[in-house]
């Protein structure tokens, strides 16, 4: 479900497939396990994410809150049109930074 890569304390998480009510908890544990204590930011690349429901959004919200408490950055990039629509309808685009590409997300995080 995820593939990760670390570059100077910035963890890139490539998400693929579907995140729904049946696997959102596994997704949460996988991402939590991938984040190191000294990571300064997490970028989640959704290019290959085919589907997400409120169960998956709940996980993103929890990750965003934990990272903010640690003063670490959190950004999402490369949303497909239907997933962007889900983000907009839920208002998540107002609380989680969404970028066009991983390069934009990386530049914004600094």
């Amino acid at each position: 479900m995820i593939e990760t890569e670390r570059d100077g304390g910035v963890l890139s998480v490539k998400v693929q497939g579907r995140i729904d009510g049946s696997n959102a908890n596994d997704f949460h544990s996988d991402v939590k396990a991938a984040i190191a204590d000294d990571d300064t930011a997490v970028i989640m690349d959704m290019e290959r994410l085919a589907y997400i429901s409120s169960a998956g959004l709940r996980v993103l919200l929890m990750l965003a809150k934990v990272l903010e408490q640690r003063n670490a950055g959190f950004a999402i990039c490369s949303l497909s049109d239907p997933i962007r629509e889900v983000f907009e309808i839920s208002g998540f685009d107002k609380v989680i930074k969404v970028h066009e590409s991983p390069e934009n997300a990386r530049a914004a995080i600094g």
């Binding site: 009510g21 809150k65 049109d81 239907p82 208002g91």
Partner: protein
Amino acid sequence: MTREITLKVGGSTAELERINAAVEELAETEGWPPDLVFQTTLVLEELEVNIMNYAFGEDENVQSQIVLRSEPDRLTIEISDGGKAFNPLEDATEPDLDASLEERKVGGLGIHFVRTLMDEVSYRRENGRNHLTLVKRRD
């Protein structure tokens, strides 16, 4: 073409995969655009998970029924269950879409998706069952 399918759904989230497969199969034979497949799957998941969580409590033997009727100009979805009376249109929490990250919660988002993505949504309680009817127009 018009095609109708009926699905009996149990009380576990493992059922979501079976629902998705049925939606995709119907979508393929009826030539739905990809966004309709996505929206239908999303709405069905949100409502079914609500039924699993609220209507029956801890009962593992939950059974609800989904009827999907695909017509050239519309898709009609009817979901019914024999759980306690629950009208998601009135009884579900309204999400606070303007809350800050710290205060933001996910409760009520599922019903918010249903209201936003579907064109008509109605609820009735009949013969001890909850019935939710949704219409998505294809125009």
